[in-house]
């Protein structure tokens, strides 16, 4: 039992990072209808840039954290302006493929500069574990979970009350109507990419503090799909819950598969099997907008 409880806690921590990355994905999808296959690479770039500032340039962690966010913002603006904007209105497959091309370029960028070996962040938080319900939990896990919750709270308030957030929701709802009300669609598109890049970078930095980083970090971007499909492609709440559920689910499946059948690495597919089932049963997820079609 304790084994499974530990799995659930690990799942919640990993899940909270999935939620963050899924949040970035959903923000882009809501505003621009772009399915971003480079989300995992944004996580990776953020993690590496922060690593370079803290370890290679010896900056204090907080400074490098803020500088990383600034870098992510600039990167997102450049990417949106140069790569995504020329493809507005093109078929879905072109848009998907352009983000796949982007992910290849980002991978190349990271590998050329930092190579492929695992890099480890210096310990920022104390190492002694807390005891919660009789289980040891590392402070960094708690910090990761707390930070994710905080970010979700911030973005919920941002989308609900700030005028920019409302403009973004309006754009997501109906681009033409939003444009005729004087909302600059292009800047909204750029802003949604910035938000996505920033939250992904934060996810990357948290992951770097937990596990260390290597180029495999980009695979995280694929894990976003089960999370957002479960939650509903265009729902922020869905992204948060979907990420947590998928994180817990895949950890439990991994543990159970190892425990009962001796199968290793089941984590990698468990969430995708769930994904296929959801697509068959309830393709718009828990909170997604149903597209009603008459045939």
């Amino acid at each position: 039992m304790e084994y499974y409880l530990q799995l659930i806690i690990n799942g919640l921590v990993v899940g909270s990072i999935y939620s963050l990355v899924a949040l970035g994905f959903v923000v882009i999808f809501k505003a621009t209808k772009v399915v971003n296959f480079a989300q995992g690479e944004l996580v990776m770039v953020g993690a590496y840039v922060c690593f370079a500032m803290t370890v290679q340039y010896q900056l204090p962690f907080l400074v490098s954290f803020l500088l990383t966010l600034a870098f992510a913002t600039v990167l997102a603006i450049v990417v949106e302006r140069l790569i995504l904007r020329p493809l507005i209105g093109e078929p879905i497959i072109s848009v998907i493929m352009v983000t796949i091309g982007l992910s290849s370029m980002l991978k190349c960028f990271v590998q050329t500069i930092w190579g492929t070996q695992i890099r480890v962040y210096p310990a920022i938080l104390p190492q002694e574990p807390f005891m919660v319900l009789g289980l040891p939990i590392a402070p960094v896990y708690l910090a990761a979970f707390g930070l994710s919750l905080l970010l979700f709270a911030v973005f919920s308030v941002f989308f609900k009350y700030s005028s920019v957030g409302i403009a973004m929701r309006a754009t997501a709802f109906d681009q033409q109507a939003a444009q005729s009300m004087g909302i600059g669609i292009k800047s909204i598109f750029a802003l949604s990419w910035c938000i996505a890049a920033v939250v992904s970078s934060i996810g990357g930095i948290i992951l770097g503090n937990i596990n260390g980083i290597n180029v495999q970090l980009g695979h995280l971007g694929l894990k976003v799909f089960p999370a957002v499909i479960l939650g509903g492609l265009d729902s922020l709440l869905g992204a948060a819950l979907g990420g947590l559920i998928i994180g817990v689910l895949e950890n439990i499946c991994e543990g159970a598969a190892k425990d009962l059948f001796g199968l290793g690495g089941f984590k990698e597919v468990a969430s995708f099997i769930v994904l296929v089932i959801i697509l068959m049963v309830k393709p718009y997820g828990l909170f997604g907008t149903k597209e009603i079609e008459r045939v």
Binding site: K107, C108, G265, V276
Partner: protein, 349 residues
């Protein structure tokens, strides 16, 4: 002096619908095949091995183009379907089946799996379909890696060189003819399917599924046929690949393979058979070209070899992005424009 028609004038629909519309086209093709057949006699085995890989990639790209370019159903799982065919054919051939039955068996296995994963396509469109085929890719990859009783798992699976009627195709130059034969059949098959009743139904589904259904196209049946046929040909490509490399591992059929097939049909030109051939040639030659450039620069900067792997990936991504932005219709359009230019030369109007 004899008189020539200044253009092609058809007197029957049959003629207009033909694969080869003029004698000139036929003779060009004949010359091309003659040169291709002579290639292994003059080129070294390295160049022939690249030619073999290109031919196998052509089958993969053409089959994906049937599904994505002609029928409009995006698939991110094509690499896994190729892998399904590779493992199917390899296992059958290791059981003692002759080459061609094993190859067909691999194709049928791939078709079956492709159709199973094609079933969601009735309800799902666009991104949802893309994501469900992505799931198919990852699930099949897991099966290749973990069903080690059948597939050899991470250690891989050795395959014998193909024997047909007692003749062993055991060198690059010999197997070239076998691969060329199968590739030609596959390309002809797709070109012919595109101009039959199911082919027109595929195009109708791609262009607008609701009007297709209104004029009596059974969406589910035809989408499933497209998935089946496309995966069958992908399986053939996989079977050939397995018999050519004589050793297969799960990493060969990863997500990256699916992406490179998609890149081939985008860079070549969606929905065009000739375009898929161009795309396959382009994407297969790209890393070789980079190798060549970097090794020729090697004297100046010796540490370049360390960055060659990420460089290949980066250039691949850059090419994909540049083509999507500047030439979304791909090399096929460039080819048409070039042909039109020379047809009218020197009067370009």
């Amino acid at each position: 002096m004899s008189m020539h028609k200044c253009g092609l004038f058809y007197t029957s629909y049959r003629a207009e619908d033909g694969l080869f519309r003029s004698k000139f086209q036929k003779s060009c093709l004949a010359i091309f095949f003659a040169v291709l057949l002579a290639c292994p006699q003059f080129l070294n085995s390295y160049v022939v091995s690249i030619l073999n890989l290109i031919l196998i990639a052509v089958i993969g790209a053409v089959s994906l183009n049937l599904l994505t370019g002609i029928c409009g159903q995006m698939s991110l799982g094509h690499g896994a379907f190729v892998g399904m065919g590779a493992y199917g054919a390899a296992i059958l051939s290791n059981l003692g089946l002759p080459f061609f039955p094993a190859l067909l068996g691999g194709g049928f296995v791939a078709a079956l799996v492709g159709m199973v994963f094609g079933i969601p396509s009735l309800r799902l469109k666009g991104i949802y379909l893309a994501i469900s085929t992505l799931a198919a890719q990852l699930i099949l990859e897991y099966v290749f890696l973990h069903a080690s009783g059948l597939t050899g798992g991470a250690n891989g699976l050795p395959v014998n060189a193909p024997h047909v009627l007692g003749y062993a195709f055991d060198s690059d130059a010999r197997i070239f003819y076998l691969i060329l034969f199968v590739t030609t059949l596959c390309v002809l098959a797709v070109s012919n399917v595109a101009r039959t009743r199911p082919g027109r139904a595929f195009v109708a589904i791609r262009d607008y599924y609701q009007s297709a259904e209104n004029v009596g196209v059974n969406l589910f049946a035809f989408k499933l046929q497209a998935f089946g046929l496309s995966s069958f040909l992908a399986g053939i490509a996989g079977g050939l690949w397995a018999h050519y490399t004589m050793y297969i591992t799960p990493e060969q059929f990863s997500m990256g393979l699916s992406i490179s097939y998609l890149a081939m049909i985008i860079i070549g030109g969606m929905g065009s058979v000739l375009g898929s051939i161009f795309g396959a040639v382009f994407i297969t030659l790209l890393p070789e070209l980079l190798n060549l450039i970097i090794s020729s620069l090697g004297g100046m900067a010796p540490d370049l070899s360390a960055v060659i792997v990420p460089m290949k990936e980066g250039v691949f991504g850059l090419m994909l992005v540049l083509f999507l932005i500047f030439e979304p219709e791909g090399l096929a359009r460039k080819w048409r424009l070039t042909k039109a230019y020379w047809k009218l030369y020197p009067f370009a109007y």
